[in-house]
Each structure stands twice: as structure tokens, then as C-alpha cells.
């Protein structure tokens, strides 16, 4: 057992230094993991069927929750924005208000949070179980790169499916806003969609697109990293899954603010 030689008065500083070094090390490992994954992504051959499987795992299986949350988010937005705008007699701007809220902010963020909860957690758990049952080690000793087989296809699939999921979320949300604003509260359909065409620019759509692409990278990167570096046993997998979802969600919100403020 090693005994600390640091005087008691300096122990807090010693601890702080230890945590800082560990923190920097973790960040380094985190970055190196993405570097390894990007290296595997750009080095042929791409594991095509693994990529297709990941699209199904991350994208297709998240479709139902995206459809539901997209529609109800749009309906809530339609209701609340209509009630607010009606105080100023500006109900005509319901369409652009719903569309801009969804396309610029809520679509990418909520779709990413939903996919994190459904697919990101499952990705961490799957890789974590593969790690503790030595399946990842088995790949390594077969001289086959786990990065190429397990991580690169997931990140590729994230880049492809997150914008698609976001687009579906946005469309369903705009339709939900239409249902409430037009069908329930009596706004004219021409006003709802006409004003939307006037106020929504390509730049708004591009912002939402790039946000969703970056969220696709963040979620798959964080969740795969946590699965790869899982602790021991079922408890380790559970902890890694929780950490992956929490860290992904926080990073989504932080990155959303950052990219939104510099765009």
C-alpha cells in the first residue's frame, strides 16, 4: 500500500492536482477515441452491413418516438404561441413562430434528446456488455479493429440519421401546430403556411441541419466511449449508461447554445 508523503496542510492541493490530471487524462482519452473512430471511418473498407445495422438501430427504431414527440411538441407550440400572439393581435405569425422554433432550436435538440434516450443508452449498454463479456477483446485478438466494426458505423449512422430524424420531427411539429392553430383555433391555412414561407430562410434550415449533424456525432461518440470504457459487471454497465445519457444531454444543450450564438 502506498503512503502519501504530502504534508497534511497540502493534501487538498494534492487532491485537486490529482483530479485535474485525471480530468485532463480523461479528456485526452475522449479525444483520442474520436480520433481513432474518425481514422476508422476514413480508412476503407467501410463495414457496409454494420453501417446499415446501425442506421436501423439508431434511426429506424427511434422513428415512433420521434413521430410522437414531434407531433405533440408542435401541438403544444401551436397552442401556447397562438394564445400569446392573440394578446397582441398577431395570430398570423403563428406559422413562422412554430416553424422557426422547431427548425432552429426545438427540432434538432428534442430529436437528439429523444434519440439519446432510446438509442444512445442502448448503444452504451450494448458495447458495455460486449466489453465485460470480452467480445471486444475477442475482436482485438483476431486483429480486427473494434473501432472499425463497432464505433465508426455508429458515428456514420448518427451523422446520417440525426438530420433525417430532425427533419421528420420538424415536419410533424409543423403539422401539429397546424392542427391546433388552423383546425382547432380557426387560423386560415393560407396564413399559417404563407407567413412561414415569408419568414423561414434557408439559413434557418441550414442551422438546424448542422446542429443535428453535430448532435449525431456528439451522441454516438459519447455513448460509444462510455460503453467502451465501462466499469465492472452489471453495475458498471448501468453507471456507464446513465453517464452516457446525462453527458450527451448536457453536451447537446451546451453545443446548441454555442452553435446558435455563433451562427
Amino acid at each position: 500500500m502506498s503512503v502519501s508523503t504530502v504534508p497534511a496542510v497540502l493534501r487538498p492541493l494534492d487532491l485537486l492536482g490529482g483530479w485535474t490530471i485525471e480530468g485532463v487524462n480523461s479528456l485526452g482519452r475522449f479525444g483520442a477515441f474520436l480520433g481513432g473512430a474518425v481514422g476508422a471511418m476514413v480508412t476503407p473498407p467501410l463495414k457496409f452491413w454494420a453501417f446499415v445495422d446501425r442506421i436501423n438501430f439508431i434511426g429506424f427504431r427511434s422513428l415512433l418516438i420521434i413521430l410522437l414527440t414531434g407531433a405533440f411538441t408542435g401541438m403544444v407550440l401551436g397552442l401556447q404561441i397562438f394564445l400569446t400572439l392573440s394578446r397582441f393581435g398577431s395570430e398570423a405569425f403563428l406559422g413562422p413562430a412554430v416553424a422557426l422554433s422547431l427548425i432552429r432550436e426545438l427540432g434538432p435538440v428534442l430529436a437528439a434528446l429523444m434519440v439519446t434516450g432510446r438509442a444512445g443508452s442502448a448503444l452504451t449498454a450494448e458495447l458495455g456488455i460486449m466489453r465485460i463479456t470480452e467480445q471486444i477483446d475477442a475482436l482485438e485478438v483476431m486483429a480486427l479493429s473494434p473501432m472499425r466494426y463497432l464505433v465508426a458505423p455508429s458515428i456514420f449512422a448518427g451523422i446520417l440519421t440525426f438530420p433525417l430524424m430532425t427533419a421528420i420531427f420538424d415536419v410533424l411539429g409543423i403539422f401539429g401546430g397546424y392542427l391546433v392553430g388552423v383546425e382547432l383555433l380557426g387560423l386560415s391555412p393560407g396564413t399559417y403556411f404563407g407567413e412561414m414561407q415569408t419568414f423561414v430562410d434557408f439559413a434557418d434550415i441550414a442551422l438546424g441541419f448542422w446542429k443535428s449533424v453535430s448532435f449525431g456525432v456528439i451522441v454516438t461518440w459519447v455513448c460509444a466511449y462510455k460503453g467502451f470504457h465501462v466499469g465492472h459487471g452489471a453495475e458498471g454497465v448501468a453507471r456507464a449508461t446513465t453517464q452516457a445519457v446525462v453527458l450527451s444531454s448536457v453536451l447537446i444543450l451546451v453545443w446548441d447554445y454555442f452553435i446558435g450564438s455563433v451562427w
Partner: protein, 244 residues
């Protein structure tokens, strides 16, 4: 030949390997015995390049693998087959696909040839017709045999077995040991096995190495260890508790 020199590994404050030295002759079955938690699996993971030591080195045919990574390490690993403690079968694949996996990914053979080799590998371990089952659908003993078939299907020069009989009943332990012996006679690979199945492993081992307290305390043919005057070896072989 695999040569291990001064292998030292520490996890936090715990020193697991303390300057371990060992030579593993080509074509032999060398069994590493020792108490549970004594560092046998850690030692094996150094041999297959999954862990890097704090000091010391591992040489495979005079090539040091300890500091290798990437393609040079993969080149060594292509000569390896590994049977993990739990089998480490890919649970999303059927047993036949597990066995076919290294052939599909590493060897690039026609589909018909892969199917033929997989059938032959499964037949060698007594699992004809079981290939379409998933690992979760077969017994623990069968999973171990599928893992052995997967490790041997690429005809490796060196095969590592990490406690291949843990958790099996005595009949299955003997079945797996004799299967390994039979496969070794046919393929003449170098086998390195971690086990604590005493006295069963004395029947199949060419050499036995006793790992204790992070070092090899005795190594030699089974008869040598059985007749050893070393108290640690004797106590382990007789299954005497600590402190007696």
C-alpha cells in the same frame, strides 16, 4: 518460442506481476496454474497484447510484442487463437457465424470454402448441426466448444486458453481437456492454458508453471510438479487452505 522476461504489472497500489520469467516451447501444451485472483489471466492478457506491462517484455519468436501496437501487433495476433474464459462469442450471431467470422474477415475465402471449414471445425468439437443456434440457446459446455472451434478455425500457430473449463461439471471438464489434447495432436499448435483444474490438467500438459505471488515459483513437466518439494506447489496441488 514465447519468452517472458521480468514481467511486472501494477494496478493502483496492487502489484499483480512481480518480474515474472517464463519460456513456453513451441508445439507444447503449457499450463499456468495458481490460485484464483493470483494474476494468471492478467499474465495471459500480456501474452496476447491486451495489457502492457509496467516493466519486462514478452518475445514471440524473438520479436518483442510488449511495445507493439497497430499493424505490427496485428501481424503477431494473426498467428493467435484465443479461447476466453466466458467464450466471448458474439451473442448477436449464430454459432456457425461466430466460427465463420474470423474466416470472413481475415482470410477472404469463397463462401463455399468457409462453410466447409466451419462445418469441419464444429464437427471437430462435436457440434455437428448446432451451427444455426445462437450462443444463448446452447449450454455452457457447448459455448466453450464453439469458442474453441472459432479459435482454431484459422489454424493458428499459438492458441491461448483462459480457464476453458471454469464452471463446467467434471465430465465436461474432461471432455474439453481431451478435446484440446486431441486437437493439439492433430494441429500441433503451441498451447498456453490458464487453469486450476488439479489434477486433470496433469494428464494433458507437457509443462506446468505455478504462478504465485506474481512470480513463477516452479515450472516443469507434470511429474516434476507433482513430486515438487516446494511447499507452495504442494499446498496448491493438495488443495490445502492458506496458513496450514
Amino acid at each position: 518460442m514465447i519468452k517472458v522476461e521480468g514481467l511486472t504489472k501494477r494496478f493502483g497500489s496492487q502489484l499483480v506481476l512481480r518480474g515474472l520469467d517464463l519460456e513456453i516451447p513451441t508445439g507444447s501444451i503449457t499450463v499456468i496454474i495458481g490460485r484464483s485472483g493470483g494474476g494468471k489471466s492478467v499474465f495471459l492478457r500480456h501474452l496476447i497484447g491486451l495489457l502492457q506491462p509496467d516493466a519486462g517484455r514478452v518475445l514471440v519468436d524473438d520479436q518483442e510484442i510488449t511495445r507493439l501496437s497497430g499493424e505490427p501487433l496485428d501481424a503477431i495476433r494473426r498467428r493467435y487463437g484465443v479461447v476466453f474464459q466466458g467464450g466471448a462469442l458474439f451473442d448477436s450471431m449464430r454459432c456457425a457465424d461466430n466460427v465463420a467470422f474470423p474466416l470472413r474477415e481475415k482470410v477472404r475465402l469463397p463462401k463455399a470454402e468457409i462453410a466447409k471449414r466451419v462445418d469441419s471445425a464444429l464437427a471437430q468439437v462435436g457440434l455437428e448441426g448446432m451451427g444455426q443456434k445462437y450462443p444463448a440457446e446452447v449450454s455452457g459446455g457447448m459455448r466453450k466448444r464453439v469458442a474453441i472451434a472459432r479459435a482454431l478455425v484459422t489454424e493458428p500457430e499459438i492458441v491461448f486458453f483462459d480457464e476453458p473449463t471454469t464452471g463446467l461439471d467434471p465430465v465436461l471438464v474432461n471432455t474439453i481437456h481431451h478435446l484440446i489434447l486431441d486437437l493439439h495432436r492433430r494441429h500441433r499448435f503451441t498451447a498456453v492454458m490458464v487453469s486450476h483444474e488439479i489434477p486433470e490438467i496433469f494428464e494433458i500438459a507437457d509443462r506446468v508453471a505455478m504462478l504465485h505471488d506474481g512470480r513463477i515459483v516452479e515450472v516443469g513437466p507434470p511429474a516434476q510438479l507433482q513430486a515438487s518439494q516446494n511447499r507452495i506447489v504442494q499446498k496448491f496441488i493438495r488443495g490445502e487452505p492458506e496458513g496450514t
